[in-house]
Symmetry: C2
Subunit: 549 residues, 2 copies
């Protein structure tokens, strides 16, 4: 079997028609949902690209793999999805973005050459790269944000787009009234069409690369198709730029009382530049239609991919997963971007189509179980015929849900966020190690713990689905707070670094030392069979002499 | 400066005259204590050889490095003391035991050759091996416990000791009345002299190797001199075998009430074979004098080493550390061996001599601070002139104590024990992942948490220094229990895997992305200096054309 592990970047859980969006029609996402199973409560391990992705690619919580924010290298030797699947004879390919940063110091310490196969896999989260393009080719006075080569820029140049950085100048810019470049970085330009042929824009380009990969692929494979969009810059080529307008923009989910005595951490995020921008309706009315257009384009390209699978007969033997690394506030809760733990940010779409007949009973249905993004790695390992090495992979296989089997499931999900590298850490005056947040959500109650001596935050999603009322403001709810803190404490003691010994290894090792002559309990030898000890008795020990004098 | 990092195996904190033993006179340990600083409250991170040592060698808690029991390999790439010191120009040498098991799977995954320098260091906790001999050459029906070559057995053979395993047949055996071999594995033989020339026994041999190392060493070095003794088998050559007798054996620290409604985990350990043996006074009266003889021999050999340092002038530039990987119950609390968290098992000697004048003010004094074994790695890094990388090393440098400086210190120590590989796990019927114990001690109250749904254990060392009364048996003390559980929860959320990014790296990285053109907050460009954005404006962008048609 093959696996198409498709990830969109910054795609909100509720911006799909199969998730109930009233204006955004996504027939192709819906088509996969109709063929497969849609999870209504999937949470990422961290609402930020890099950390979330490292959790997807390792099946481990961010505080287990340690790459807790963008640009924090994944430690050398951390076992990845690619490592697990290779052992099972399935190769893992990367097509697009990972946001992976290589642990260059660790590689040097171990003498690993970056240009060796093993070295290259260490640099690509364990994937073999069909195409690696992280899709953020920003440039400023200090040069490029991403120093790697850009296959996408190379593609654009080959198509006649001029300049050093056509990603910036064409794919992510429009043209203003004076005929000057209108940067997609500026929200005021979000309603302009990107100055690029639609088929050359990022999402169609990566889709074409995916089809090119599929057509030549042999054997069992997993392809991680990782789109940069609908991630900012928020600008999209025609015809998608004006498919939606202010009339399609849903009102911001926000309440004035959220800004009254806000939790210090939330309060600080409220005043960052992105939040300030998205607090303006004019910005939302320009940006959100572009965001919807980017999703609509992604849906059309998904349709192109699905049609290709149908035509080539691969739909019968290809598992398809649609997910995202995190959401986008889009002005909800007075915020922009992601980073915190409201549903808009930490909850993501998760739709899985399993072609095998075992999964027939759940096609077209929805599962409300508490799912974590780390569950995918476990699911892929089981789909590839392996047993999940649960001393390494912390996620749990979703196969029972796909096959409609009863299963004992987790009672809560955990997500983490490290804001030590952000201006909010400076503004709050906390040490980097204290700039860490933990979310525990049990399906109703959502507790957010902040290191550094702050009070927690608490939301009751049953009585307050919009998460407007931080119940930890007052003295009430201490019982719920204590209960969720106990869950967090249990999670904190989880066995997550004993990665070199499985439970089965341990069971098999029991009692071995005595049979190898380690007998630190013998009084007179009667404690063990004679053959274990006779070697230490006179008769069995020939030529026993006094010590050399 | 050089560092002699001397570790004894299974040496109790209170079996030294400088620690108050009434019968065991250890003038050479006392001599180092008089020259240096003695820590009265040093706790190991796990009361078991392998796990404790991996914490000493990495400066990290056992649940951080993952090698939580004997024979659990230390994951490839885990940063060790050797790695830290090499960066500072100090080489780390191993002379003796580490109990390290190499992560062969991880090495294979990364293509590391065992016979390469880097590969060899991965197999030796980051040390370069002068001599690696773990000192347990037990043999049984399934062969040798330790499959590696034994430099000590090779030495004995070169000295004319015959047979395949003179470690067993001579160094650790006596002769019985019939002239047959009397195995040192049997407690009944503990009072016999080992059938070996004293100078050929393990402790003098390793001391000679150490002197040989010192005499040829150049540059700054750390030598980890790691003795197997006074670890079992409990047998010692003349004249040490009869220096002590039953009259020197202190009464067992045990009370009948300890066995009334014991905690299920403690209760299960009470019934293991070693505990059963040490519950017999006859066993204690044979074993403890041998144990004391082994310590006395270690003290004499320490004197030999100290004299050599004096004679060669190296005492002026050599830091000396005396410590142990864990203690030995010797029948206290009705137990033998180690494994649990009573003081006899989890507290160890820690004596540090720093030759530098900065340390003059504390010579000959005692420090009662709560010290952990992981603090040594940090101390050595600071002694070598480095800054402690506290995103990797969880211990704290002891230099402030050595130099008599005021310092903000930890409020509690944590130790852990994984008994998943033992018969006690089977007897209790808990899953391997639940066979884990955690100790939190704040200087007065000692809480032991057991995974698997058991109640905790609680001791008040102020009112009950002997730890006879498990206060968690009743419903009382819930406040103290909750307070210590909060400490454990804080510890559980510690930032211990973000090993590829220091706090300084994070601070330096702040705000970098905007200057590299990542501007996801711009409404109209006024938010940033013009030069950041002009590249995206018409004038600065020459030959801007419409997209290729």
């Amino acid at each position: 079997m093959n696996i198409l592990f498709i990830m969109y970047d910054q795609l909100r859980f509720d911006y799909l028609s199969c998730a109930g969006h009233p204006h955004l029609h996504t027939p192709n996402f819906d088509r996969v949902a109709a063929m497969g199973l849609q999870f209504s409560q999937c949470y990422v391990q961290s609402p930020i690209c890099g950390a979330s992705r490292m959790s997807y690619y390792t099946g481990r919580y961010t505080s287990s793999h340690g790459a807790q924010w963008n640009g924090f290298p994944l430690r050398v030797g951390e076992v990845t999805l690619g490592d697990h699947l290779r052992k099972l004879g399935m190769h893992s390919w990367l097509i697009g973005k990972t946001h992976m940063k290589v642990d260059a110091d660790g590689m040097a310490r171990l003498g690993l050459a970056a240009d060796s196969i093993i070295g290259a896999r260490q640099a690509e989260c364990g994937f073999d790269a069909w195409i690696r393009d992280d899709g953020l080719w920003g440039q400023g006075p200090e040069g490029f944000y991403d120093a790697k080569r850009s296959p996408y820029n190379e593609y654009l140049k080959s198509k006649g787009y001029d300049g050093e950085n056509p990603w910036s100048d064409y794919a992510n810019s429009g043209i203003d009234a004076d005929g000057d470049m209108a940067s997609g970085w500026m929200f005021k330009n979000a309603d302009k069409p990107a100055n690029i042929r639609e088929e050359d824009s990022e999402t169609p380009w990566l889709t074409s690369e995916t089809i090119r990969f599929i057509d030549q692929a042999e054997g069992d494979w997993l392809a991680h198709v990782s789109y940069i969009k609908p991630h900012w810059p928020y600008i999209v080529p025609a015809p998608y730029h004006d498919m939606y307008g202010p009339q399609h923009v849903l009102p911001a989910k926000r309440a004035d009382r959220e800004r009254e005595e806000p939790h210090p951490v939330y309060g600080t995020f409220l005043s960052n530049k992105i939040a300030a921008a998205f607090q303006q309706d004019a910005v939302r009315e320009k940006v959100i239609p572009a965001y919807m257009g980017l999703i609509k384009q992604a849906d059309d390209q998904l349709g192109r991919l699905l049609d290709h699978l149908d035509e080539t007969g691969r739909m019968k033997d290809t598992m398809i997963v649609l997910c995202s690394d995190h959401g986008d506030y889009l002005g909800d809760h007075w915020l922009g971007e992601k980073d915190l733990f409201h549903e808009a940010s930490v909850k993501v779409p998760m739709i899985i189509y399993d072609p095998r007949s075992k999964a027939d009973s759940t096609r077209g249905t929805t599962c409300d179980a508490l799912v974590e993004s780390i569950d995918l790695a476990a699911t892929f390992i089981e789909a590839a015929g392996g047993e999940v090495p649960d001393h390494i992979v912390e996620g749990r296989s979703l196969m029972p849900w796909l096959e409609g089997r009863d299963t004992d499931w987790r009672e809560y999900v955990v997500s983490e966020y490290d804001y030590s590298a952000t201006p909010m850490c400076v503004a709050l005056g906390v040490a980097p190690k204290d700039a860490r947040l933990f979310m525990v959500f049990d399906g109703r109650w959502k507790l957010i713990h902040a290191e550094g001596g702050f009070r927690p935050m608490l939301f009751d999603l049953k009585t307050d689905p919009d998460e407007f009322d931080d119940l930890a403001k007052g003295a009430a709810h201490s019982t719920e707070i204590a209960r969720l803190y106990d869950m967090l404490a249990d999670w904190g003691r989880r066995c997550n670094q004993r990665v070199t010994r499985s439970d089965a290894d341990i069971v098999a090792s029991r009692g071995g030392s005595a049979k190898k002559g380690i007998l630190p309990f013998m009084v007179d030898g009667k404690e063990v069979p004679q053959e274990w000890t006779e070697k230490y008795r006179g008769p069995a020990r020939q030529n026993y002499t006094k010590k050399p004098q």
